[in-house]
């Protein structure tokens, strides 16, 4: 009979107008006695179906309806805001490392602040501020970096002393602290109520909300969403939004056309206590003690404290519904280290009485960033999930960006770091996820230092040369599952252990990379760059050329054997991809893109190329091993191996030829190196990889050849002012803004995507400009190293942020690349950035609060000395992201 009753209840349509809704949602487990069934059947169709009634689903519904979309149905398997949202700690914190995350959190904070006024629903919003504690100097540096970012965004924030901490919070033991960061505008909310407030507003705007309705799968036809199947019937729709939280992975895999959403839940514990004898003030700042791995906020006069333990417990959601997740067991033994940390931080709490240990599962992603955007395989299938336990902080902003994405076709910020398409099928193995989230969750509290690599889920994609290189001392990093060499440790030399090597200062590999760079400059080096994404596009007639001419900004109608650097732009002229395309024949093209473009670029082209059997596109990434021969002697090595003339007359820059190397035939040799140094890229069918590598190394011996890694490559490309996509370039950067007008066919009278936007920029000027900075008074040995994201100051005014940096062994200086904007001093309005504006300024780069003088440059050094080099020979491209 009980089951019967439940089924009846599932027909209750959630309505804002229903005065009982608060009671229903507050006493979830006894709802059966208070709710009156109002069976409302599901609509047969809607424009948008959102699955998930947590903070994400309600935020998307809220923002979509605000933007004018009304035909929206939100489905929730259990009760609104009763999953992770209900149990989360309700801390709104803007202290984030990644810029777009910081912006989302800032927006969320501002949204929640006025939400109660807007909706009449009590959200429990209290501006308490937050204090992040540092027990070590390194932690303090990390906090200072965040503080710099917050300050230039206009978010009040200051670095304070332990004494000041004690003044702000009466219970804290400050004896082991070296400092702290205070963000006074951070807030606390009741997350379930925020979610209900968003639902209320959405509902008023016409969004239909149905509780106790589970989506079983999403129907897809011809690569587009057509509807959803639920346990209460079918709804036809054009858009589906998967906001199913920890169930998102499962839901993504439930349809015929699987959508990979790589996330995995872990159990997460926090403690609730009874009030203190003298109840804590409700506006007492929230404490984050990352070195103790805990957070502490006030809660109804007592405290709420949880953390991110070193040994997380992954959790399977398969076959578990919301109610089961709500009833997960407390595990005090597991919580013990966090309780110890809490009592060490606030010893006076010893006598405080325990109310409850809450087990609130959170979902984590492979790179600790949330997942947002449209599926690369199913159009109209959007995702917003995997919040890595920052759902409340991101909820508002993430919902807004996704709504913009759906309504406008793109969000108002660069969300590539969060884009679902940064992942592919390779990240969706359960085993991989399980292992990786066990690394990610503890990482929440670990120090975030430059050049950090994940240790789990490694050695998935490797080059055929992996073992050879590894035996020669290769140290590896991973990109999109592909192992790439950072540098080679010479025999007999030892580097620090992984944990000890974490530093914000000069790293232990400094001299190793220095000697690799030197070898690139003076002799020849070989770098395995097999991870790059490689597509072949060909057609029976001219379709390939015609279509590519429209989709790419540079002129691809070049003689066969030429290589063209070109952007793949969006309508706003921004880089969706930056690639090199070789014309193999009249009708076929070989396209090389950054490693992590494999999914995004494929989807972008698939969606825009005509569905025509005469035009084929193939992902040949796995078919070729790529060796980059860099250095002045590369030409000697190659000519000896191929018995073919390779001199610049026969093999000019930006050229592509199939030739034999050693015994192996059909090697695609291109005269590019992605660094501005002389040399060649060899694209080798994988079965020849070892042979060619051996031949190159043997032959190269007399020219002083050696292996090199990506760190050397990066140093070379940055000192040559090469931007690369994903790091410096993104969908919001145009060729005009980074000095690449020469890579755009504006004058050729051809239509291409982004043309109008570029023409307008050409006429009116640009609002930001890619600039190179040489640090002047920076001591490489003693000072903090720049990384990326450092604020740039011009004449004392904030003008932008760096996007990448490296030590230039040639200049013996640090080089930072970044964008300079021009804000009106009075109004803050963005003004056109001119060459004069760049050149006539005194610059400083802020590294963790310390400012270093810098010289700004708009052209690389090499071009000063090689005036006569033809413009189109100047390579201005580079790929990999750090």
């Amino acid at each position: 009979a009980a089951g019967m009753f439940l089924r009846l209840l599932s027909d209750v349509r959630w309505r804002a107008a229903n005065p009982k809704w608060r009671r229903m949602t507050c006493s979830r487990r006894s709802t059966s006695s208070t709710a009156e069934p109002h069976p409302v059947s599901l609509p047969a169709q809607a424009q948008v179906v959102i699955c998930g009634g947590g903070i994400m689903g309600t935020s998307v519904a809220y923002h979509l309806s605000k933007m004018g979309w009304r035909d929206i149905v939100l489905l929730e398997q259990g009760r609104l805001a009763a999953g992770t949202t209900r149990f989360c700690a309700g801390i709104v914190s803007t202290a984030r490392h990644v810029s777009v995350e910081l912006k989302m959190a800032d927006y969320s904070n501002k949204l929640y602040q006025q939400l109660e006024q807007e909706t009449g629903v009590k959200t429990g919003y209290v501006k308490t501020g937050s204090i992040s504690l540092a027990q070590t100097q390194d932690r303090l540096i990390s906090l200072k970096r965040i503080a710099s970012s917050l300050n230039v965004m206009g978010i009040p924030c200051e670095i304070i002393t332990p004494k000041q901490v004690a003044q702000l919070h009466p219970l804290i033991n400050i004896h082991d602290l070296v400092g702290a960061m205070y963000v006074p505008e951070d807030a606390l909310v009741s997350s379930a109520n925020v979610s209900l407030a968003l639902a209320t507003a959405a509902s008023r705007n016409g969004v239909q909300i149905h509780e106790r309705t589970s989506v079983s799968h999403v129907s897809v036809q011809k690569g587009r969403v057509t509807g959803v199947e639920t346990d209460r019937g079918q709804i036809q729709c054009q858009y589906f939004v998967n906001c199913a939280g920890q169930w998102a992975y499962e839901l993504g895999h439930s349809g015929e056309e699987p959508v990979n959403i790589p996330l995995h839940a872990c159990e997460h514990f926090y403690l609730l206590t009874h009030p203190l004898k003298e109840p804590l003030a409700s506006n007492l700042p929230t404490i984050v003690d990352p070195d103790g791995r805990i957070y502490i906020r006030n809660w109804q006069g007592g405290i709420l404290s949880g953390g991110f333990e070193k040994n997380p417990k992954p959790l399977f959601t398969e076959g578990r519904n919301q109610l089961e997740i709500q009833n997960l067991q407390e595990d005090w033994d597991h919580f013990e280290p966090l309780l110890s940390a809490l009592l060490r931080r606030m010893p006076d709490l010893e006598a405080l009485q325990i109310m409850q240990l809450v087990n609130c599962p959170e979902s984590f992603t492979p790179d600790m960033r949330c997942i947002m955007g449209e599926s690369p395989t199913v159009r109209g299938y959007f995702v917003l999930a995997g919040m890595n336990s920052a759902g409340i902080s991101y909820g508002g902003g993430a919902g807004k960006y996704l709504a913009e994405w759906m309504v406008n076709g793109y969000p108002s910020e660069n969300v590539w770091p969060l884009d679902l398409k940064r992942f592919g099928t390779l990240q969706s193995s359960r085993t991989f996820l399980r292992h990786r989230v066990m690394e990610v969750m503890p990482l929440m509290c670990d120090l975030k230092v430059p050049r950090w690599d994940f240790q789990t889920g490694r050695q998935l994609r490797t080059s055929p040369l992996y073992d050879r290189l590894d035996a020669q001392g290769a140290r590896w990093m991973e990109k999109h599952g592909f192992e790439r060499v950072k540098y080679f440790v010479p025999p007999g030399k030892d580097l620090l252990d992984l944990d000890q090597s974490k530093t914000f200062y000069k790293p232990d590999w400094f001299d190793i990379v220095g000697s690799e760079v030197k070898c690139c400059k003076e002799a020849v080096c070989v770098i395995d760059m097999s991870s790059f994404t490689k597509f072949e596009i060909s057609s029976t007639g001219d379709q390939a050329l015609e279509n590519l001419q429209y989709l790419f900004s540079n002129d691809l109608d070049v003689p066969v054997g030429h290589v063209v650097h070109t952007g793949m732009l969006n309508e706003k002229g921004g880089y969706e991809n930056d690639c090199s395309i070789a014309r193999l024949s009249k009708r076929s093209f070989f396209m090389i893109s950054p490693t992590d473009q494999q999914v995004h670029c494929w989807a972008w082209l698939k969606n825009r190329l005509p569905n025509d059997s005469t035009l084929t596109m193939e992902d040949v990434t796995w078919k070729y091993t790529a060796l980059n021969l860099i250095g002045p002697r590369a030409v000697d090595v190659l000519s000896e191996l191929s018995y073919a003339p390779i001199t610049p007359e026969h093999f000019p820059s930006l050229f592509c030829k199939e030739m034999s190397v050693g015994y192996a035939n059909g090697i695609r040799v291109m005269s590019i190196t992605h660094t501005g140094e002389p040399g060649f890229m060899l694209y080798i069918p994988i079965e020849y990889a070892l042979h060619v590598y051996n031949e190159v190394m043997n032959m190269g011996q007399k020219y002083g050849i050696r292996n090199a890694g990506y760190y050397a490559l990066r140093s070379l490309r940055i000192e040559k002012f090469f931007a690369f996509w994903g790091q410096d370039l993104d969908a919001f950067t145009t060729p005009m803004e980074c000095g690449r007008e020469f890579q755009v066919k504006l004058e050729k009278g051809m239509q291409f995507v982004g043309q109008e936007a570029l023409l307008e920029q050409k006429q009116n000027g640009v609002y930001k400009r890619f600039t190179m900075f040489i640090l002047e008074d920076h001591d490489t040995d003693m000072d903090l190293w720049p990384w990326w994201g450092e604020p740039i100051f011009r004449n004392g005014q904030y003008v932008g942020k760096t996007t990448s940096s490296a030590y230039s062994y040639t200049l013996e200086r640090h080089v930072c690349l970044g964008f300079v904007q021009h804000f009106d001093e009075k109004t803050g309005e963005e003004l056109v950035v001119t060459t004069d504006f760049i050149n006539q300024g005194e610059y400083e780069i802020d590294i963790a609060g310390q400012r270093f003088q810098a010289k700004a440059k708009l052209y690389p050094f090499s071009s000063l000395f090689t005036h006569r080099r033809r413009k189109d020979e100047v390579e201005l491209s580079g790929y990999q992201r750090e």
Binding site: D333, E336, L352, Q353
Partner: protein, 458 residues
Amino acid sequence: FYLTPPQVNSILKANEYSFKVPEFDGKNVSSVLGFDSNQLPANAPIEDRRSAATCLQTRGMLLGVFDGHAGCACAQAVSERLFYYIAVSLLPHETLLEIENAVESGRALLPILQWHKHPNDYFSKEASKLYFNSLRTYWQELIDLNSGETTDVKEALINAFKRLDNDISLEAQVGDPNSFLNYLVLRVAFSGATACVAHVDGVDLHIANTGDSRAMLGVQEEDGSWSAVNLSYDHNAQNEHEVERVKMEHPKSEEKSLVKQDRLLGLLMPFRAFGDVKFKWSIELQKRVVESGPDQLNDNEYTKFIPPNYHTPPYLTAEPEVIHHKLRPQDKFLVLATDGLWETMHRQDVARVVGEYLTGVHHQQPIAVGGYKVTLGQMHGLLTERRARISSVFEDQNAATHLIRHAVGNNEFGTVDHERLSKMLSLPEELARMYRDDITIIVVQFNSHVIGACQNEE
């Protein structure tokens, strides 16, 4: 005064011994994987003894714990001799003949037992000849008696126990020309010892028990939890059957004086024991032996003292109660221990502690606060203790040591409290016996695979 954890460990581990049954072809074909044993003295010197040996002429393994009283002489003698008596009782006629012929013709004897001894477990060199002669007399009688029937283990155990006790009694009555030996046999006879012996052969487990040591089987339930099955009955005043038995054996007139203050004749805790001729011999015999005995014996108030209400001896027997158990795959281990352990720990806790130790899995009840009033500090203390309990497992390489650590160091939460452990172990000799008894433990681990296979064959 405070012992550091390493000091505590060195005390606890001083007597620990482990034996692993050797493998053949990488396989252990025995139903026993091995055993851990240990003992912790409270008396000085310790009065407990232990023995373990593999029968070489028959199959099976023998393990036993012996709790001496009124000195350690009897326990020592029983620990040296009992297994030979059992082994001989189990031998087939042909083997007995072969052995007798070898002795007769001065050839090398077939080895009967392979002992598994800790260096501290000693055998008396002086008495070995005497003991051997008694044993030889026993097997000669067995040869003469040749019943032609196959030996029943239960019967063999009972016979061996009774025969050894009889020999102890006789040797004391006869005396020995060597004054040292003469004194020794008297000390053996006038002191006492309980014995709890296990004989394991394939799936057949026999426990022969005399006195208040105890054998307990550790059984793993299907849900992984541990339960205890008793494989012996204590022979003491708490055992109604035993009290009944004693009363049956004596006239009704003595009914009231037989058991006083839970002791036999108001004196002896165990109701069955080896030695203790003061409860077995007639008053005349006792007086004669004491008077003709060496001066030391004569000066000893205890030996001269006749128990009150001593009318119809013997009051005490060494005859064991034998329990046969067919091992099942869920029977994971056997604990033999003297009463020093059972006084401090409930058998259910023993089963859990050993079971968790052996499997390395800790079925600690998860803590739930529920409606209780618990402060953060209390919870923290409790969690730290639970953590210590887990870590203490890894300190011990020996299940018996681990059990002793719990027996001595357990606090009210059932976790090992180092402070308590340190206090208990640093008690001066004269006080130690007041707080704890000698503890001797053997933990035998069974081979579930072999047992499962045997079971299937049957």
